[in-house]
């Protein structure tokens, strides 16, 4: 039987990743390719980045493979019906038709006469979700939420995002955007504006600390700096509060946490879990397991592939 392989794309605030992923959720390392994007990215920039990374990735498609299609994760929000994106942090790309662009680039790459006739067509599915939804699908497939009935998987990093999976199915909501935990509101700010890496750095500096990055917070907290440690606890308490409400509303059995700032301290996930237990009122919500992601940085790519592989 030929191996089923998907092309996965992951568009974040700083880069576009593309890679081939097989039916076990393994990323084919040689196929992986990255191009920088950024706040100032234009449609023409992204056209070029997609064309380049997709061509590179597909050039590694084994000639005997069954091509499952294109799965795409993108910084949100997205417009599922139009296959378009409206990324908060890339205003120049609002309305960009990412699904069509990726589909066209993949079809173009497959027309190359290196490929057997069988693969040279454009009749493959192309599916788009926001990156949090893809991550959640990956965690539920081969990660920390495998076997879960209802899970939320989040990233705590430059931003805070997430996605929901119930009974193995991603919950998209009305327009595909369910899971945007970072834009829930606590007091006058969003959760992300309180708890992200940059927000934690800004808060610590406002308290007299002199570092500049999340890595600086990690290092200084480990050496006993009281303000750096307080910034970590403040972030975890805020995330835990948001998750207590999410679990009360959604009845989650597992919450998986990933992202650079979640590694700011060895006990970050434990602090989040303690805050959830402290905040949640109903027993089923207090019983939610909060765990560290079992996936590396490939989670979003694996989840994007799952959109067409599963």
């Amino acid at each position: 039987m030929p191996t089923r392989i998907a092309l996965a794309l992951d568009l974040g605030g700083t880069k576009l990743d593309a890679a081939l992923v097989d039916a076990d959720g393994s990323v084919l390392t040689a196929s992986r390719n990255r191009r920088a994007t950024g706040r100032a990215a234009t449609p023409a920039d992204l056209d070029a980045a997609i064309e380049h990374t997709v061509a590179h990735a597909l050039s590694h498609l084994p000639r005997d493979a069954e091509f499952a299609g294109v799965g795409i994760g993108s910084a949100g929000p997205i417009d599922l019906a139009a296959g378009a994106i409206h990324p908060v942090n890339m205003p120049g790309l609002h309305g960009y038709g990412l699904a069509d662009a990726a589909h066209r680039s993949a079809a173009r790459a497959l027309r190359h006469d290196d490929f057997p006739t069988r693969l040279r067509h454009d009749d493959f599915p192309t599916r788009l979700r926001h990156d949090g939804g893809c991550l959640a699908l990956a965690e539920s497939w081969i990660g920390a939420a495998a076997g879960s009935r209802a899970s939320l998987s989040i990233v705590v990093s430059t931003g805070v995002g997430g996605g929901i999976v119930v009974d193995g199915e991603p919950i998209g909501g009305a327009s595909g955007n369910a899971g945007h935990l970072g834009q829930t509101v606590i007091g006058d700010l969003t959760l992300e504006e309180i708890a992200s890496g940059p927000a934690s750095v800004a808060w610590a500096r406002s308290q007299g600390w002199n570092g500049e990055t999340g890595e600086d917070i990690a290092r200084d907290a480990a050496s006993g700096d009281v303000v750096a440690r307080a910034a970590i606890e403040r972030s975890a308490a805020t995330v835990g509060l948001g998750l207590a409400n999410a679990s009360t509303l959604l009845d989650l059995d597992v919450i998986a946490i990933s992202g650079g700032f979640s590694r700011v301290a060895p006990d970050y996930v434990d602090l989040v879990s303690a805050a959830l237990v402290r905040t949640a009122v109903l027993p089923y919500a207090r019983a939610t397991r909060v765990v560290r992601s079992a996936l590396g940085d490939e989670g979003p790519l694996v989840g994007a592939a799952a959109l067409v592989l599963r």
Copy 2:
């Protein structure tokens, strides 16, 4: 073709309702029966109330009907796997096996030799959800959320509860309890502790108002009492904040509002909608339509029936 008919039960904090519901979602009025319950209810009380109301309702089952089974809505939380309930406001009933008790009473009633042999068996489905989940299913079936892709339906009354339906399917979560909006936390209190009818009365009294009920608030606000009006606006703003976060997390296209306190002022739903728009950050969440329930007080019974009719 014989009419398909379900037996529906709705257990609230003050009463148990039972009725037959047909495949169009119509409640057969003559079959409807109610027994009082209350905070002090014991398992023996509830056994007797179920036996009585179920026997009454089923005595009206047309002899040529197809019996679809028993659908049950209960004050939450529930334990879906065990078919048991743990209602916040009826501590004596924690762990009560409501699904089994209702199934046994229905089977017993159907053994009566008034019924044709065809109906005299216990091989019918019995399904339990919390009352908010049932209400949401009813709104999505024949109510204000019909045609919605992702809806949340809530009750603002003595308590605040709700349920979620995505693509026509009720979202239960890990243990069947998704939708408990009232127990999400805002500051030091739950949403229900701020925004319910009794909470609004208590707050108004703390501000010098002298009434005693939600009806008093409605009347005094209509006559221009500033504190009574402020109590209404405070409740609606709090509900709107909770719903902004729910819509951000779940990407809802419709939120349907019912319950006695939601009728405290003609513009209550508009106030909630305005608070949601003021609070939500992402465009898709701000676009959520907030509407008044199209169902009467029969919503939970209709939704309970939907558990086995649909």
